[in-house]
Symmetry: C2
Subunit: 643 residues, 2 copies
């Protein structure tokens, strides 16, 4: 595992550039030179670079008909396998000069990483666009850099998957973990067991041809696709079509609420394993990757406790509790997968002595659990701390290190079994319209954690670059920014929305937990302010660094906003829930203006004023309509100065 | 032809509604009642309405799983043909009450028009969304309401076509005129003559399966698809694959510049007609519509004059000029089409005595030409005045009536042969990124001209509703609004863009003519401010109705803008061309602020001041960097008040 410091040599020439490229993940070594390579309609790439050419053409708006000689030469040492494998060499060097550029990589996958860097290097110039002269040496810290997408709780049509694969490639993520079945939907066509999708998906599933299309699309971007079929729990959607698989009597319906359900597979019957032998074999053939995820999380044991058959089975084998039963089940699933040439991955709960040494444990519970897994000899990947559905700030995720926390105490040999991590997008409260904005740009910060040297930890630098990288993802068709205004427009129907936008910019959406996911269903409209609002308010973050004049301008806008908002909220339920929030925003603006006045006067505020306003701000910073009024933050900072 | 007045009965209850639906085209008769039908997750539509359900779900953000009984019942009297035909009954009635709604139409096409109206009726409510109680009777004024899209000069991939078909259906346009070949590209797969697409498209063409997909997609929205293969001129892209079709010796290359080229089909050789017999027959089978467009415009005659064969042919038949030769050619093409069951359409130039009486003339030159066509007994459609690529204001197009101008003098019998009109989107200076913003929302105003009673002419009302309709098109996937900010972001690369946005909001893009299209090629980047800027500035139009406080706020913003803009323009060619424009905008702001001061003072401005500023504003209203600084307009109005 690479632990050396990143070497960043930025020449003064580069610092003087009008536009500096924002690279994310930050490469291992970057040395800017002088001069630049023009990116114009004569730009061309050698074989293997058509993908980059199409991307640059879209990014710059310049047609690149690929008629001129290649200006970017791609040299790959070995003909890589057809499909990327864990641990394949992804290193590359990239050299750019005014006359041309060159990528050198050991594998095709490395050259794809280099092209992702090249695309981020493009900046406006005196003649159009250019890439500054640079020498880059780069290689990943971890070989497993993933994004998990849950397509069960809310269905995500294929275009959502494809555009997110594009975004993953742009920030060098290399594992797409596809959570394909759960209580709320079974999302893959099985030809052996067609009642799975017929009764388990409400018509929303991928055909096998679509799966293959996505797998090939990912492969062409150097991304491995790991399917997950969660067993023995989270299987409610399997049972409408195949009720005999369950541990209790049916009938069953697909889940429409969220949480941990009682129905689980019956581990006591041979027919369950025969079904899995057939089904997993079929899926093993459909997905080329060597690794295969079988879930294994959140079995509450209720149905097993109520089943005479399972109880007899447990007694016969002396399984003393739910976990012991599940371990035996996992062991048999592992054997099935092994027969089909697959290595098993599962969540924390599958951890037990005697699993195959090649098993990979994906940790969602805490960092100690990861440490425990690798101490037990298994390999591990970290997802605790990377749950995107919690809507934590990018800085939070950025601060979590797969080899940090409890894992920091491991021996080098143990630590080397930490393969990397995965950002997780659970879909209780996201749909195709909002999912991009819940993944991006925050997943790019996580991607940097997985790729760049451990020493790269400057949060300000991360945020500066994140904004540019986020913008760049728009050229790939991601909708994380473009969905914002239309969703705010929807709130008001046929009228202009400036005041709604002012309010929306001043808040942050709550994540699954604090929203109270259990009160929602898969049919709940996700069309409220909380769904449109960003997980992080860029404008409030900018305001925290702003000068007095800008603060006064914005506070004035906030103070005036509520008077225009309240009439809009009449006869409009989507706005009505925001009435108090809007009032609070204007109050925050008023407090801010007064604080500025006191600061400007050089005289202290009246006795008790600061304390009283602090109480108010604390009250207003509590969740309201499932968002947080983060507008209070810059005003709280001003009050600190007045104390 | 329907000429009665539109009856609009708006009850006081409706006027008091928080949100009033914006209907476009305005229906023939609208009577609002009391109460409203809730649009929530229990909303459902009877058979034939799945399309509407999907649209409403996206528009409102509410899942509509179609489990509840239908709240909107659709009754269609006759089982319409499989494919829409010219003159099919598109009338409908729509009745909405709190308990449910009903559509009654004679044909499936009429029910589709009713559903488009229903979608526009949805407004926010106290409980989510609703449709107000209403009785609507509606029918089109003209049976031919088209949009022409040129996919030759710039290639438009299938998704561009499909989303524009969705938008057409939303505003009741019913003819998609697909300009499939021109000098710059041949865009359809021919199986009989594959060198057409192989040598004529640079790889950018629709397969026959894609054509069929688009035709079916259009049919499901009640839209007829009329293919155009422009002959004998505008055929340069046919010749790289089949040089013997040309009237002069090759070799030939696809055109990359724009304008009228010399090479045209050879009308003197039988082989030309044999080729057309085969090719047009193949296309006649591919496109089910009875009408078939053969172009026929802009033959300059140079190649014919230089060809001994054509000259001998002309002499033999006593054709005295280019037009006479072309008329003979058109006549033979008409016979070929007739053998394949198709009725010919062509541009003005095909007009001649003795064409089949069923021929349709599409007028692009002027309204007299339309009058001449229908006086000669042919049917006509108007496109003069509806050229979207000129980037004229919506109000300009809205003021052109197919039965106005020279056509107003026709007898009722002659006038009845005016079938309607078509908005035309020529693609010299648009690409897939910008095309939506050049069609929409202005084409919706033209759609109202074609559908609504002739008496519907209130421009303010049109603009009020246009803004809502434009917003609604976003839910159909149109990118006419969402492309704006990313294109402005591109101008600045990695930095924030507020000042660029301020400048962009204050200008309007020039159309093809004033931009000087002949200096561009198909490979010219369309990534400048002029490409991002709107054909009409909504913010300037709003400003022209704003009060003093808002004027002062905006003028202050303009006045300060240039100081922040100039540093951005350093080392950035896309911004550098805007330096003077930005300076002018700030000057306009300064003049506006002074004018406000003089008006507020109640005293006259110093002698000569108004005259001097007017001269300045006139200078600044001249095109600059291919845009117009329309910010001058509200300031000019203030100066008028000071005179």
């Amino acid at each position: 595992m690479l632990r050396s410091l990143a070497i960043l040599t930025v020449t003064s020439a580069a610092l003087l550039r009008a536009a500096t490229p924002a690279l994310m993940p930050l490469p291992f070594k970057v040395e800017y030179g002088t001069g630049a390579l023009a990116i114009d309609s004569n730009f061309n790439v050698s074989a293997g670079g058509a993908w980059l050419l199409a991307r640059l053409s879209r990014q710059t708006g310049i047609p690149m008909p690929a008629k001129a000689p290649a200006k970017l030469e791609i040299v790959v040492d070995t003909s890589s396998g057809e499909y990327p494998g864990l641990g394949d060499d992804e290193s590359y060097t990239l050299d750019v000069a005014a006359a041309g550029a060159r990528i050198h990589a050991h594998t095709r996958w490395g050259s794809l990483r280099a092209m992702a860097t090249f695309a981020q290097l493009v900046v406006p110039s005196r003649s159009g666009f250019e890439v500054p002269a640079v020498h880059i040496e780069d290689r990943p810290r971890f070989p497993w850099r993933g994004l998990m997408l849950d397509v069960s709780r809310h269905w995500m049509p294929l275009p959502v998957v494809l555009r997110n694969l594009d975004a993953m490639a742009a920030v060098k993520l290399n594992v797409f973990h596809w959570h394909l079945s759960d209580d709320q939907g079974f999302r893959v066509e099985s030809k052996l067991y067609p009642r799975l999708q017929e009764y388990g998906s409400e018509g929303h599933y991928y055909t096998q041809a679509e799966i293959t299309r996505a797998v090939n699309y990912a492969r062409d971007r150097g991304i491995r696709v790991i399917p997950e079929f969660d067993v023995p729990g989270h299987t409610l959607s399997w049972f409408p079509g195949y009720p005999d698989l369950a541990s209790g009597p049916g009938p069953y319906e697909i889940g429409h609420r969220f949480g941990v359900f009682d129905p689980v597979l019956d581990p006591s019957r041979d027919s369950t394993y025969e079904f899995l032998e057939g089904f997993l074999g079929e899926m093993a053939r459909l997905f080329p990757d060597t690794y295969f995820h079988i879930g294994g999380d959140e079995v509450n044991g209720k149905q097993w406790a109520q089943s005479p058959s399972v109880q007899a089975f447990a007694k016969q084998h002396a399984f003393k509790d739910t976990l012991a039963i599940q371990r035996s089940f996992s062991q048999r699933v592992r054997e099935i997968l092994a027969r089909h040439g697959k290595t098993m991955i599962g969540w924390d709960e599958i951890l037990q002595p005697g699993l195959g040494a090649d098993t990979v444990i994906q940790t969602w519970r805490n960092q100690s659990s990861l440490a425990e897994s690798v101490r037990a000899g298994y390999r591990g990947i970290l997802s605790w701390g990377y749950y995107l559905d919690h809507l934590s700030p990018a800085s939070y995720h950025y601060g979590i290190d797969p080899q940090g926390g409890a894992a920091a105490q491991l021996t080098p040999e143990q630590s080397s079994r930490i393969l990397g991590g995965e950002a997780c997008m659970w879909s209780e409260l996201v749909d195709p319209e909002t999912v991009d904005s819940r993944i991006w740009p925050r997943a790019a910060a996580i991607a940097e954690r997985f790729w760049s040297p451990q020493s790269v930890t400057d949060i300000d630098s991360m945020y500066d670059r994140l904004e540019s990288v986020s913008r760049g993802l728009e050229w790939l068709g991601l909708e994380h920014r473009s969905n914002y205004v239309p969703m705010l427009d929807r709130l008001t129907g046929d009228r202009r929305v400036p005041v709604v936008r002012v309010l929306a910019d001043a808040v942050q959406a709550l994540g699954l937990g604090p929203r109270g996911g259990s009160k929602y269903t898969t049919d709940t409209p996700l069309n409220r302010l909380v769904d449109a609002a960003r997980p992080e308010s860029e404008s409030v973050r900018a305001l925290e660094k702003a000068g007095t004049a800008e603060l006064r301008r914005v506070f004035t806008e906030w103070a005036a906003n509520d008077a225009a908002f309240q009439p809009l909220a009449q006869d409009n339920t989507l706005l009505a829930e925001l009435r108090n929030l809007s009032k609070d925003l204007s109050a925050v603006g008023e407090i801010g203006l007064k604080a500025l006045d006191y600061l400007a006067s050089g005289k202290p505020a009246p006795p008790g004023w600061v304390a009283a306003q602090s109480v108010e701000l604390t009250r207003m910073s509590k969740p309201n309509a499932e968002v947080m009024l983060v507008a209070v933050r810059p005003v709280q900072s001003l009050l600190e100065k007045l104390r």
